[in-house]
Subunit: 202 residues, 2 copies
DNA sequence: TTTTGAGAATGAACGGTTCATTCTTAAAAT
DNA sequence: ATTTTAAGAATGAACCGTTCATTCTCAAAA
């Protein structure tokens, strides 16, 4: 006797699942695997702690699921840089500005950062991250940077090195969670762009 | 009949104390207040856990003592930049290079970073940090940067903003503990200097 | 050279706390 | 009425700061 339509049931559950994953992303990104408590994720998702276990077997499974999702999303996110308007410099600048300003865009990067440095990260997550590592992002950005260098907008360093430095800086900035007041805001995109900007004054 | 002279005793104890503080600096800097376990500090100092309590009442006291010491040291450390040889640019570059390359120089910065962001940091530590905050470092560096801007070596942004941005970046880089391989090393001092470098190509 | 005893050191044990996870119970939905 | 969903209490294991009984060390005294 099924007192609920099969289909609607699935839909609701799927929605719940996403709701939990979304909450988990925020909490794991900010506090890391150890620092994130199931109760916090539950609070964020506006559910009770017990409920989480109807959708995920364990904290670990929740974490790994999240990593899997985020690894995919991030690659797509970065790919979108090529569709932005303007020169390579413009594209990179817009991309950077978005990340620095938009909190929700930061979560995936923070999560990856944590997953790369925290202890007790499940082997499966480690292995997923290895596939979607900095190396991959560098390759994704290579054409953009090469073009930027060709037309003299970007510095003439070794290209991969330049990308790596830029990504490291960006990542470091995002990760930093200093208490920010108005006197000392995060450096903005233009500041960061000086890392890659060519010798010509812009 | 005391089998050990008063003076020698004091010396030995003082040495032990320093030994513990040194170990604690490393461990607290890397793992933060919560993440650092007394047993880890003991291991690092090559002592048993119990011994720590002959010198410090509690984990908290040890932490606060350390913060106090580091707050003082750091101010002195930064002051030394003025004695370095060369132009403001040269000084800042040398200073930056030292910090990026020398692990032991990084510990105090990491500790402060942690103390500023971790939870459950004792009120006394918070208050100590407030006195020795970024604001103070900015004031310390102000003459250097003003001179650098005057002679056109530094960018013409608002001076305090420029210092703040630079310190934030430096701090973010230090704090980042990515697993570094040879393909993706930390950006070096020259990369970082581009943040402050003036429009003239160097 | 031996003895001695204060200070140093150890490491096991204690006790409190903190969670991940499970269980109970009951309301809501159909 | 029966099943699904939910909340929140309960459980139990792990962790870790701290203590303490015990042993060790080694410079001075004998």
């Amino acid at each position: 006797m099924s007192p609920l339509s099969e289909e609607q049931l699935m839909k609701r559950q799927e929605a719940r699942r996403r709701q939990i994953l979304e909450a988990a992303l925020k909490v794991f990104a900010v506090r890391g695997l150890r620092g994130a408590k199931m109760s916090m994720i539950a609070d964020e998702a506006k559910l009770s702690a017990g409920q989480l276990y109807r959708f995920f077997e364990s904290k670990e499974e929740l974490f790994v699921t999240l990593i899997r999702q985020v690894a995919q999303d991030t690659t797509r996110e970065i790919a979108m840089i090529h569709d932005l308007p303007g020169s390579p410099y413009d594209k990179l600048r817009a991309f950077t500005a978005t990340i620095l300003e938009d909190k929700s865009t930061q979560y995936p990067f923070k999560l990856i950062q944590h997953a790369n440095t925290d202890e007790d990260v499940p082997a499966e997550a480690k292995q997923l991250l290895h596939q979607f590592s900095v190396k991959r992002y560098i390759e994704q950005l290579l054409p953009l940077f090469e073009e930027g260098q060709r037309i003299g907008d970007f510095a003439q360093d070794d290209t991969r090195r330049l990308i790596s430095a830029f990504l490291t800086m960006l990542s470091a900035l995002i990760t930093l969670n200093m208490p920010l007041d108005d006197d000392h805001p995060l450096p903005n995109a233009d500041m960061l762009m000086r890392i890659v900007a060519g010798p010509r004054s812009r």
